[in-house]
């Protein structure tokens, strides 16, 4: 069986200082084993 997740997430853009203040990044690699509850990706709350 397979599960596919599709979601919107923040990508970097700040018009004022043009810095990456809020950006989603996957923290996994292809072929990784993962468990329920482990992070797939993170972003920084601006």
């Amino acid at each position: 069986s397979t599960v596919i997740l599709i979601f919107q997430a923040p990508i970097s853009k700040s018009l004022e200082d043009d810095s990456a203040s809020s950006e989603f990044r996957f923290c996994i690699k292809r072929g990784d084993r993962i468990h329920v509850g482990e992070a797939l990706g993170r972003w920084h709350d601006s």
Binding site: V3, L5, I6, A9, P10
Partner: protein
């Protein structure tokens, strides 16, 4: 071979002697012999599978990407009554086992498919059937949820096959190198799926495409009316992208699906497609595998916008149990032979709020057959 020789010798002796007692001895030998032959065959198949997996793993480590290669066996699979096979397997797996044999059967399963029995919530002899054991719950604390509020967690135990960002109109998800499918064909016609039109795509300072946040009628604002969490208006500069992640669950994995974030499930779609196997070989030989198989799609919104989970069934793990809608039955006998019928859809009430799920909540489970 030695077993067959022994069996032939026994049969020959019984026919020479013509005695009833010898004949019955031959019959009694047949049952354990057949069992032994079946075990040997399953062992050989398992060894072959492990060898194939090892070769694939080595290829992946060496940076060799698996490519799509349609083959005759995949074409032949379309002719097989996979749904009936799946349902029969489910029937076999749900047969109650004698208590004394249960630990042996489940330990054998765990050894073959690398399951961790230490995590099982109940003692092994408490699982009445293989089907019940397969969807076992885990001991409390076995799957700690990442406490970072700015992280999206894995909804399942499994292996990461693909992930990335969908950019531009008509973005496709790659099944394997050389074959892709569209998001809309996987999820169905969705009013919530962000429309990424070419004219909407901008370039950021590094030359990468960025997509402005799309507001639609059923926005997070309306959802948040039912939620105590008060959200500030999104700054005009904040943008979102559309991401995806494909996770494959091996037979030995924990087969329950959890919520990846706090979100509101607004719609459920059930596609009663086919039930092809979903292993690595199938992925590289069967076209449109994830789009053709029976699946349940849950769609809704979370604090950053759109969210969807597609749970895709396979031949052995054909049915999907949805905890937020227990009356839903999947892997049913087909009323017609058409595989292209539209999905059955249900909008969860109240509209625009739907069913609220917390990060880590159990959402669904894959069942055998």
């Amino acid at each position: 071979t030695s077993f067959l020789r022994k069996f032939q010798t026994t049969q020959a002796r019984s026919s020479i002697n013509g005695g009833r007692s010898n004949s019955s001895k031959g019959d009694s030998f047949l049952v354990p012999g057949a069992t032994l032959a079946t075990i040997v065959m399953l062992g050989a198949l398992h060894a072959r599978r492990l060898y194939g997996d090892k070769k694939l793993e080595e290829a992946r480590e060496n940076g060799i990407e698996i490519e799509f290669q349609p083959d005759v066996k995949a074409t032949f699979l379309r002719l097989l009554p996979l749904r009936s096979i799946s349902r029969f397997w489910g029937f076999l797996a749900s047969m109650e086992l004698p208590i004394w044999i249960r630990p042996y059967v489940y330990r054998s399963w765990a050894r073959a498919f690398h399951s961790n029995l230490e995590e099982a919530a109940k003692p092994l002899d408490k699982y009445a059937s293989l089907r019940e054991f397969f969807v076992r719950t885990l001991k409390d604390g076995s799957r700690p949820i990442d406490s970072d509020p700015c992280c999206l967690i894995s909804p399942v135990d499994g292996t990461i096959l693909r992930f990335g960002e969908l950019k531009g109109a008509g973005s496709m998800i790659e099944q394997v190198k050389g074959f892709s499918y569209s998001v809309s064909s996987l999820l169905g016609a969705s009013p919530f799926l962000p429309v990424i039109a070419e004219e909407d795509i901008q370039q950021d300072s590094e030359g990468q495409e960025i997509i402005p946040r799309h507001e639609n009628k059923k926005s997070w604002w309306r959802i948040s009316l039912a939620s105590p969490k008060v959200r500030d208006p999104a700054p005009a500069s904040l943008t979102t992208g559309l991401f995806y992640c494909v996770i494959y669950l091996k037979p030995g994995d924990y087969h329950r699906i959890h919520s990846p974030v706090d979100w509101n499930v607004l719609v459920r779609r059930h596609f009663s497609g086919r039930l092809f196997p979903l292993n690595e070989r199938a992925a590289r030989t069967i076209r449109n595998l994830y789009v053709e198989n029976e699946r349940i799609v849950l769609e809704g919104r979370w604090q950053e916008g759109f969210m969807a989970i597609a749970a895709i069934g396979a031949t052995t793990i054909g049915s999907i149990e949805l905890f937020i809608e227990p009356e839903l039955w999947t892997n049913q006998t087909r009323k017609n032979l058409l595989h292209s019928e539209p999905p059955e859809e249900r909008v969860y009430e109240p509209e625009a709020v739907g069913v609220m799920l917390k990060k880590g909540d159990e959402v669904a489970a894959f069942n055998m057959g």
